[in-house]
Symmetry: C2
Subunit: 218 residues, 2 copies
Amino acid sequence: MDIPIIENVLKLNDEVASINRKTLKDAGVYTVDLIGSPGSGKTSLLEATFKAIGDKVRIGVLVGDLTTARDATRIAKWCPDVVQINTGKGCHLDANQVRQGLDRLKLDELDILIIENVGNLICPVGFDLGQDAKVGLFSIAEGDDKAAKHPYIVQEAQILLLNKMDLLPHVTFDLELFKEDVARINPKVSLQQVSATQGLIAPWCDWLLSHIAQDCTV
Amino acid sequence: MDIPIIENVLKLNDEVASINRKTLKDAGVYTVDLIGSPGSGKTSLLEATFKAIGDKVRIGVLVGDLTTARDATRIAKWCPDVVQINTGKGCHLDANQVRQGLDRLKLDELDILIIENVGNLICPVGFDLGQDAKVGLFSIAEGDDKAAKHPYIVQEAQILLLNKMDLLPHVTFDLELFKEDVARINPKVSLQQVSATQGLIAPWCDWLLSHIAQDCTV
């Protein structure tokens, strides 16, 4: 009995996601859904992004969390356009939550919207939010087997970021093995090494900037 | 419409969990449900546990993963009593999956069963599997805000392990802040610092051993 219900939930989600996508496209906002485990460095990546290109483009942020506004508070130091979405025990954002978040942003003033999903490498992958691209964030502190063990985010992402590269001398991590797993699961995906806390995120910023219209950049 | 369905799913899960609990109690097996993010070190903790006390007690393992048998393969080097449960896109183990796993173990020969749940700090918390205790595993590489941001596992766990303490010199982590968050959310829970890859897991082993009947130990 529950299968039709789940289909309806997903169908409803997809319909709202389509509305979100049209809203964002009409406003000229390039939107990414940032997905990673708790502690993979999503908020640190956003902080580093504002430091690096916050003066070139206007970036808005929707932050999903079970509880607390800690991430939004961190981001608000860099960005006036941040909305926190608390999901309670909900393990992912859905399109309707994003819809409500969009209503609180001045989309016409934004070039980019980054949706920082709930810290979870599984459930957020299956929900369309209306984004242009899903971005998968791994950390080398999580171990080199994580692409193989979480293939769905690797399949769905347009770009994968491998964060905390500064920890490489201190952890056991076979970079070639990780790259091979990614290439096997999704030969088309771009895999970039970054260190958010060290500000070494140029490939990510270049990728973001490449997706916004020329006349949006200063 | 979906609320009754979800209630039924949870009710059915709880009924099967009760059967599991009786089965395990009758067999004299102390059972823990190990919950942590991808890369928090669940499998490394199990490897270290077998090294430390594998000759004292007989430990069985059920391993949940989306896909691959990598964790079970690692554990099988230490332990003949390991069963892999692949959940596909399922973000947590449920009681029925555990029920099927139990059928493949010789429970009468075990003292302890460790269920390594799917790497996910959210969804596994809400599902009773028939365990005696839930154990929450954090890693200091994930950042010091993770107890506050994931309060449900802190509330539900009987013991919390803070892993990868060997990385403390290389990451920004306020240990006092983390301890304060844990104490505020669950004043009764035991919080222990460990380093699985360094074999520094004595508090965890002591806790495990304290829960098995005297006549089970050699």
